[in-house]
């Protein structure tokens, strides 16, 4: 399989807690992105981090990238029930805008 790996596969937390998801990829990348997918729906782009960046913030999202370990993490702070979804990392490499997705982390945030 071309897909990277994410852990944990599933995460269950209470509202207000932080959620951390990890992603590993296999090849050198141009950038790495995180997407959210609500049950049975399409994917929504959350944040992009370039290969020369180590950390990036967007609202309650914090993404880190370690190219030496071929890994990334997504932190969602002060989680809300509306954050319940599957989260996927996707690595971009090559010249044709090709994304390689991980298997995803299913996040459940309980009120």
């Amino acid at each position: 399989s071309q897909q990277g790996e994410e852990d944990p596969q599933a995460l269950s937390i209470q509202e207000g807690e932080n959620a951390t998801m990890n992603c590993s990829y296999k090849t050198s990348i141009n950038n790495l992105q995180w997407y959210r997918q609500n049950s049975g729906r399409g994917l929504v782009h959350l944040i992009l981090i370039r290969s020369n960046e180590r950390e990036k913030h967007s609202g309650r999202l914090r993404v880190t990238l370690d190219t030496s370990k071929k890994s990334s993490s997504l932190l969602i702070t002060a989680s809300r029930a509306a954050d319940t979804a599957s989260y996927f990392c996707a690595s971009l490499s090559g010249g044709y805008n090709k994304l390689i997705f991980g298997a995803g982390t299913r996040l459940a945030v309980h009120p």
Binding site: Q3, N30, R41, G42, F88, F101, A103
Partner: protein, 118 residues
Amino acid sequence: EAEVAQSPRYKITEKSQAVAFWCDPISGHATLYWYRQILGQGPELLVQFQDESVVDDSQLPKDRFSAERLKGVDSTLKIQPAELGDSAMYLCASSLAPLGGSIYNEQFFGPGTRLTVL
């Protein structure tokens, strides 16, 4: 706000039948992608078009799958004959244009077509 349109949203078919999915990308987006997402997994690229030309179909099972984008706008993905293992979500995405190096054009995804093969 412009969106990628897909139809149908749901399709149930029997194995050995033919099915077709349609995608209308965001206006002006030259690149169109079809992904397959098996339940519990991430999307996997099946085929990528730049305008009307295929630039990557390395993961497309060409014995039964075909895709076209005749006028470089909307696209159709066909499966004939469908097999039980084809049950999945089929996602279409579009972006302005692919560029090399570190320049990236965000991919926008449609809502998907959920296929069930009985």
